[in-house]
């Protein structure tokens, strides 16, 4: 019911049937897709973006075969990815607003009867693609540079293996994002899953890493099944898997028209199911409840992998999928509300777990799950701009946070427990890590106006309040934002400021454990951290570029793609204001909002509330975890690493901190209700297989042996014995013949 009220007012589709040109931006784009313009062909050098990372994969595999023992794999990867990033940038600068495809080679081209499946190795370039590829290739280059130093203890085959998988990952991600059809998207989707598996299990001698890799792969399969069925259903229903054809299909446009007036009964159930199935795929890959459990465990992989794959790029594939397939989600009655609610639940649940963890990398992992929840909430609330903007800012600041934590982990021999580290920023050589970590924490918390994370998160939260019936989501997201600020600064106040203290972990990488000295990060790590921190801060400006028309630069990128649509509320209001002459383009948030909140424009009210919430969370963290003096903002009272004011509070909270620290026992619940029954069933099948099926087969194998056992003694080994039996047999035969002949003769 909420859905129909939500989608009732979408007015995009009504315009689609009218000629292009009457309406700007968003609908024009879809209409253009729908129109007779067809699709242009782009320059071939764009293929470099896809195939250079693949070349990196091949070269690194060759280095491994040749037994390379230098940093060559890292420089190869950084170089190739850098060129790919340059090509992406050129693609962005040369883009003139018309989507086009680039053909590499023919892949699937099957015809049977009236139908055909065409899915070429071709790439579909529009602004959504460009937006994603910009940060994928950019971050991949930076993180490869970081990894050149971070992985240096493993130089040799391991180093080659790491960068080989790294290149393959970027190639797969490029196929996923740039593919012009769903098959290529699926190839990339599985490819990134494979690389994720390979890299989580990078330390394959460590049982926990192997288990985490398997868990990630298996949980992702559940989502992948949904995606595969969704693609199948798209083909069955629309008869094509190519984006250009799919979005041009008249069928789809009729559905969107129906959805716009809230008449979902006119849309066949089959078409509505597509979005629900694709959604399952997105939940798996982007670690949404209930499939999020693999992501925290994925932190067993090397930190650059956590930063690139499990924070910045791969996990946003689900967001990309929904954004790319947005028209299909619009025509499904229940899909978007489910996406919104699942995102919200995930955001809250992961934040509560993150508050109670002690492992700083795990805190960041739960924070990633939580922030992905925000993105899904944004998608579900019809704010693809907010979701995409949050993807972008999150990619930068979360990669930054992971890499800063990784630097700490690397320097202190794998120590990640925030109770065993303190005042890291004040140690010699760690200043840059401390400052960049502060920048990352501020962005993640969303401190008002001075951080990019604030703008993107605010866009989603505000959207919840301007969407009728969704203010509950808005409140939950605000509470989550306070929690986010708390757990983020908890890490900062515990680890990076305060009295200097450190205990090494257990991964010495060949250092002498008895004379351990923390080693500060080198130039590569520091450079990457500084670049990412700068990028995070510069991203603020994106909110102001093109602010009036599209809500920031990201809005203009999204508006020019399949992810865009007319904001019903903005439109209806603008229509009311301007007497029906509205030309409002996609820009769901803040253009104009219906009603008021606390006597203010809801958007501005939310800026205030969310911003104050973030500051409140920060101050709470400072009070409970901050060190004494100015470092704890004169609120904290911590004097040693392992003790803080929170300890006493936690004791009085009963079992809650314990439950949260143990992730609300979700893994154990899954084990009890899913894994154990399945395992029991597997054992039953195993024994059935072994006893019943193998039994029958073995019986047929056993019978000849019994028979042979009876007749075997006749093979005595005595040559004369055989001869006697031959001669005797001949004699008997002759005798019989003789008798028959004589009888016959007698009768005649």
């Amino acid at each position: 019911m909420m859905t129909s009220s939500l989608l009732n007012t979408i007015s995009l589709p009504a315009m689609l049937s009218e000629p292009v040109g009457d309406h700007g931006g968003a609908s024009a784009h879809l209409a253009q897709l729908a129109g007779e313009i067809g699709i242009d062909t782009g320059p071939k050098w764009i293929l470099l973006i896809v195939f250079l990372p693949l070349l990196g994969f091949v070269l690194n595999a060759l280095y491994a075969a040749m037994g390379n023992k230098s940093k060559l794999p890292a420089w190869t990867t950084v170089g190739l990815l850098g060129i790919a990033f340059g090509a992406t940038l050129t693609m962005f600068l040369q883009y003139d607003g018309t989507p086009y495809t680039v053909h590499a080679f023919e892949w699937f081209n099957l015809h049977y009867g009236e139908k055909s499946i065409v899915a070429n190795f071709s790439f579909y370039i529009d602004k959504l693609t460009i937006l994603w590829m910009l940060f994928v290739t950019g971050l991949a280059t930076l993180i490869a540079l970081y990894a050149s130093e971070y992985m240096a203890h493993d130089i040799g085959v391991g180093y080659c293996r790491f960068f080989s998988a790294f290149g393959l990952f970027v190639f797969s991600m490029a196929c996923l994002v740039m593919g012009d059809n769903l098959f290529l998207l699926y190839l990339g989707w599985e490819g990134v899953g494979l690389c994720s598996y390979l890299l989580i299990g990078y330390f394959y001698k460590k049982p926990s890493a192997v288990a985490a890799a398997k868990k990630a792969f298996i949980v992702n399969r559940i989502g992948d099944l949904g995606l595969a069925l969704g693609i199948y259903l798209i083909f069955v229903h629309f008869g094509t898997v190519q984006f250009a054809e799919l979005f041009q299909s008249e069928k789809l446009h009729h559905y969107i028209n129906s959805a716009a007036v809230g008449d979902f009964s006119a849309i066949p159930g089959q078409a509505q199911w597509i979005a629900l199935l694709l959604m399952v795929g997105a939940f798996g890959k982007s670690a949404q409840f209930p499939l999020y459990v693999w992501l925290p465990d994925a932190m067993e992989g090397p930190t650059p992998v956590s930063a690139l794959i499990h924070a910045a790029t791969m996990v946003t594939a689900g967001v990309y999928l929904i954004a790319r397939m947005y028209p299909l989600f619009l025509v499904s009655e229940h899909a978007l509300p489910i996406v919104a609610w699942i995102g919200t639940i995930t955001a809250l649940l992961a934040a509560t777990i993150g508050m109670a963890q002690f492992d700083i990398k795990r805190i960041m992992a739960y924070s990633t799950v939580s922030q992905l929840g925000y993105m899904f909430a944004g998608l579900g609330l019809l704010s693809t701009t907010g979701a995409a903007f949050h993807v972008l800012t999150h990619a930068f600041f979360k990669a930054l946070l992971f890499l800063a934590c990784g630097a700490v982990m690397h320097g202190f021999a794998g120590q990640l427990d925030l109770r065993k580290l303190s005042g890291v920023s004040w140690m010699k050589g760690w200043g840059i890590v401390g400052i960049t970590m502060l920048v990352g924490c501020m962005n993640l918390s969303g401190l008002p106006y001075i951080t990019s994370g604030f703008y993107s998160k605010d866009m989603i939260i505000a959207e919840a309040f301007v969407t009728p019936g969704y203010s509950a989501i808005g409140w939950i997201l605000i509470i989550t934002a306070i929690m986010t600020a708390y757990y983020t600064f908890r890490v900062f106040f515990r680890v990076f400021v305060g009295p200097k203290h450190s205990e090494p972990g257990e991964d010495f990488h060949g250092d002498d454990p008895t004379h351990f000295h923390p080693h500060a990060p080198g130039w590569a790590v520091n450079t990457v951290l500084v670049v990412l921190a700068t990028a995070s801060m510069l991203a603020i400006s994106l909110a102001y570029i093109d602010k009036e028309a599209n809500h920031g630069w990201v809005g203009s990128m999204v508006a020019d793609s399949t992810a865009s649509f007319h904001s019903p509320y903005a439109e209806s209001l603008a229509a009311a204001h301007d007497g029906g002459e509205a030309m409002v383009v996609a820009g769901p948030v803040g253009t104009a909002a219906p009603g008021e909140l606390f006597g203010m424009n809801p958007h501005e009210a939310m800026i205030l509330i969310a911003g104050l919430g973030a500051i409140f969370g920060l101050l709470v963290a400072a009070y409970f975890h901050g060190p004494k003096g100015w470092q704890g903002l004169f609120l904290g009272g911590r004097t040693e690493a392992s003790k803080c004011r929170m300890d006493a509070v936690a004791k009085r909270m009963g079992p809650i901190p314990h439950l949260a620290e143990n992730k609300w026992f979700v893994d154990e619940i899954y084990a009890a209700i899913l894994v154990t029954p399945l395992r029991v069933l597997a054992h039953i099948f195993h024994w059935f297989d072994k006893l019943a099926l193998d039994g029958v087969v073995n019986l047929f194998g056993f019978l000849p042996r019994v028979f042979a056992w009876i007749i075997r003694p006749s093979q005595s080994g005595v040559l004369q014995g055989y001869a006697v039996s031959m001669a005797g047999g001949l004699a008997v035969l002759l005798f019989v013949v003789l008798v028959i002949v004589m009888r016959a003769g007698g009768a005649a």
Partner: protein, 121 residues
């Protein structure tokens, strides 16, 4: 008796002889049967593999003799044709069998067939 033998000789030398009577056939078959029996008994009683091999040759030739006799008896060329084949096979088989015997001897330093008794089921 003498005349009869002469007659049969003349008959055999004729280009298109008449059928050989049963009475002439009988001695051939008798000799053939005797040769076969001697060969068989030799094969069954002796353990020396070369002797056993010779006995099989004897049985071969017994059957060849019977075939020729029957062929002559029925005025057909099938019997003689068969014998040619038998001779070919026997020649090939002789080469094979003797080689085998040599190999077997090298393994056991013995020509006795009972040296290979462990090749049982």
């Amino acid at each position: 008796m003498m005349i009869r033998a002469l007659e049969s000789l003349q008959l055999a030398q004729l280009a298109f002889p008449s059928e050989m009577p049963d009475s002439v056939l009988a001695p051939y078959l008798f000799v053939s049967a005797a040769m076969f029996a001697i060969g068989l008994i030799g094969f069954l009683t002796r353990k020396n593999m070369i002797i056993m091999f010779l006995c099989t040759e004897l049985m071969f030739q017994a059957s060849g003799l019977a075939l020729i006799a029957f062929g002559r008896h029925h005025l057909g060329s099938d019997g003689q044709t068969f014998v040619i084949f038998v001779l070919c096979v026997a020649a090939a088989e002789a080469a094979m069998a003797l080689a085998l015997v040599v190999l077997l001897f090298r393994h056991r330093e013995s020509l006795s067939a009972s040296a290979w008794k462990e090749l049982n089921g």
